[in-house]
């Protein structure tokens, strides 16, 4: 293992023992950061590897939230079984959706909008289904301890990053790279493009669904407008692209930076926080369109250059 790997491991260990010494405010802040990382990372697992930008990935968040709620409340299963059912449910939904959308090539812009459309359709259907609580939603029993949300989402965030890391280095990773740069050429050279796209879509959707399930429990209440809120879909895209789409650490950095910034603005200027947030997002992306990752790379290159010129002049 290299130094980088040890550093990542150390970070996870520190985060895992952190709840011993922090206030409940900081804990809930960290929960929202982990949620952001898990969502942006899961989105990146599909969009960043295949190039298909999904504008309605919150669909899986909502499906996960509702699966968990129904399993826990209506069916009366325990939390573990409910999470298993949530994963199964979102995976099945993602598979069906994948069969419809990914078995032929489709223009990226259209794929994005179709996903958004599905989110809206399911939202309306849920809001008009009596057994799902219509637009009033469902109430869940409270989570026994905040630590559950903390560790669950931390685990999910770590899993997402680890999966991306492993997939990038596997045979799948090469196939996905081929799809990303030219899908037709990949298909011609014998990459099973449909299977790869489907696999990533299902993995990505299931992870988002699990996050949705956990959040439904954490909030102990869901309604269709929260669960299928388009803001969820948009924010994961923005965080991932803000950090650097298709990279390992980009979405993580984007998610951490954005959720902390949001929280800071929320307490510092509650009236104006969304306006300032929007403005900062625009300025940062104008300054560095490739996201934070590009910024770091540029900075490093500049430092190296400065170092090199330093040596030659000496």
């Amino acid at each position: 293992m290299s130094r980088k790997h040890w550093a990542s491991l150390a970070l996870v260990v520190v985060l895992a023992i952190l709840p011993i010494g922090i206030s409940s405010y900081h804990m809930s802040l960290l929960v929202s950061v982990y949620l952001a990382v898990a969502l942006a990372g899961s989105w990146n697992l599909f969009a960043g590897t295949t190039g298909y930008v999904s504008l309605g990935h919150g669909l899986f968040f909502g499906i996960g939230a509702y699966s968990f709620a129904v399993s826990l409340v209506t069916l009366g299963y325990g939390p573990v079984a409910s999470f298993a059912l949530t994963a199964l449910c979102t995976a099945v939904c993602a598979t069906v959706l994948g069969f419809v959308l990914l078995t032929t090539r489709i223009r990226v812009a259209y794929f994005a909008i179709v996903m958004l459309g599905f989110n809206e359709i399911i939202k309306t259907v849920v809001a008009n289904t009596k057994s799902l609580g219509s637009s009033y939603g469902l109430t869940l029993p409270p989570v026994p301890s905040n630590l559950i949300a903390y560790y669950f989402l931390l685990g999910l965030a770590v899993l997402v990053v680890l999966l991306f890391f492993l997939i990038q280095r596997s045979k799948w990773g090469y196939g996905l790279k081929a799809i990303l740069s030219d899908e037709v050429a990949a298909e011609v050279t014998g990459v099973n493009t449909v299977a790869l796209k489907m696999a990533m879509f299902v993995i990505s959707g299931t992870l988002v669904g699990l996050a949705g399930g956990m959040i439904a429990w954490h909030w102990s209440y869901i309604d269709p407008y929260m669960a299928f809120d388009l803001a969820v879909s948009f924010e994961m895209v923005v965080m991932a692209v803000f950090g650097g789409i298709g990279s390992l650490w980009g979405p993580v950095m984007g998610a951490v930076a954005m959720s902390l910034l949001k929280e800071f603005l929320n307490t510092a200027v509650p009236q104006l926080h969304s306006i300032i947030f929007g403005g900062l997002v625009i300025i940062l992306i104008l300054w560095c369109p490739g996201g934070i990752v590009e910024l770091v790379v540029n900075l490093r290159r500049r430092l190296k250059k400065a170092d090199a010129t330093d040596r030659t002049t000496r």
Partner: protein, 296 residues
């Protein structure tokens, strides 16, 4: 169903369809010239709607008078966005995919800012403007006069746009840039100027549509996204770039929605639009190469 009911449903469909056509025409000009999917398009409409509402409420200005004002204001706003945000971004991004991703984020930012400024200035209250609410009877059909005005103006402006794009020099230049930016440049077209103009015109059409929409629909700071999605539906189904296609698709969407809300129920009105869009894209992606991913 009686004949009268059918006609009534059709008429409602044409009113909304005309409005959708107008909004989609604006979105289409921007998409054509800049290849930008402006997800904040509905927010420009929202600003136009508020402008009309306040002019009417405070000084009793007729919405038909505010309409050109809203168009002018949004034209200026569109030009500023293009100059301030899009032009620098074009210089800074290397690939088309990077540019598209970045514009998505930029317009998400614009959307956030505009929605929240509106919320701050005018609160989240539902605003309703009652203008020409009295029903008119034509051949046994009874309809509020403002709806007729909306349909007439929206279709007239869309028609004007068609003529302008087809026969004027500027319109031809805009179409040329939409078709092939690099070749247009070689033909001596000032693509930068056309970009400014295109965004301005697109935004102005959104403002116009906002003025019209304010007379028949509630105005809230978050009303925009709904219209953006409708316009996108119409633009895709109508075939990017084709004004005739957009007219047909807009009217079809309007009639379909109005029929669906009569038959299934008003809560499913918006869903029918999405179903139409998804069905169309899925059908096309299996039959036409233009819908498959060559641009990535």
């Amino acid at each position: 169903m009686e004949l009268n009911t059918i006609l009534q449903v059709l008429l409602f469909g044409v009113v909304w369809g005309g409005l959708y056509t107008l909004i989609a025409t604006g979105l289409n000009v921007i998409y054509g010239v800049m290849k930008i999917l402006n997800i904040a398009h509905g927010e420009l409409l929202m600003l136009g709607a508020y402008l009309t509402f306040w002019l009417f409420t405070l000084w009793d200005v007729s919405p038909l008078v505010s309409m050109p004002l809203a168009a002018l204001a949004m034209f200026a706003f569109g030009v500023i966005i293009q100059k301030l945000l899009i032009e620098p971004l074009m210089v800074r991004t290397k690939t088309l995919a990077a540019f598209e991703n970045a514009t998505l984020i930029i317009f998400f930012g614009v959307l956030l800012i505009l929605q929240n400024v509106a919320m701050l200035l005018w609160t989240a209250d539902y605003r309703v403007l009652s203008y020409l609410n009295d029903p008119v009877t034509i051949g046994g059909l009874s309809v509020a006069a403002n709806r007729l005005v909306v349909a007439a103006v929206a279709l007239a402006v869309s028609g004007l746009m068609y003529v302008g794009m087809q026969y004027t020099l500027v319109g031809k230049a805009i179409r040329a840039v939409s078709e092939d930016r690099d070749t247009a440049k070689l033909m001596g077209i000032n693509v930068k100027q056309i970009g400014l103009l295109g965004f301005g015109i697109g935004a102005a059409l959104a403002g116009t549509a906002g003025s019209l929409a304010s007379t028949i629909y509630v105005i809230t700071p978050t009303v925009g996204l709904l219209f953006t999605i409708k316009a996108f539906t119409v633009m895709v189904i109508g075939g990017l770039g084709s004004q005739m296609g957009i007219l047909v698709a807009g009217l079809a969407l309007g009639v379909l929605e109005s029929g669906a809300s009569y038959i299934i129920g008003a809560e499913y009105k918006d869903v029918t639009g999405y179903v139409l869009l998804i069905g169309f894209i899925l059908w096309k992606s299996r039959t036409s190469s233009a819908f498959r991913g060559e641009i990535k």
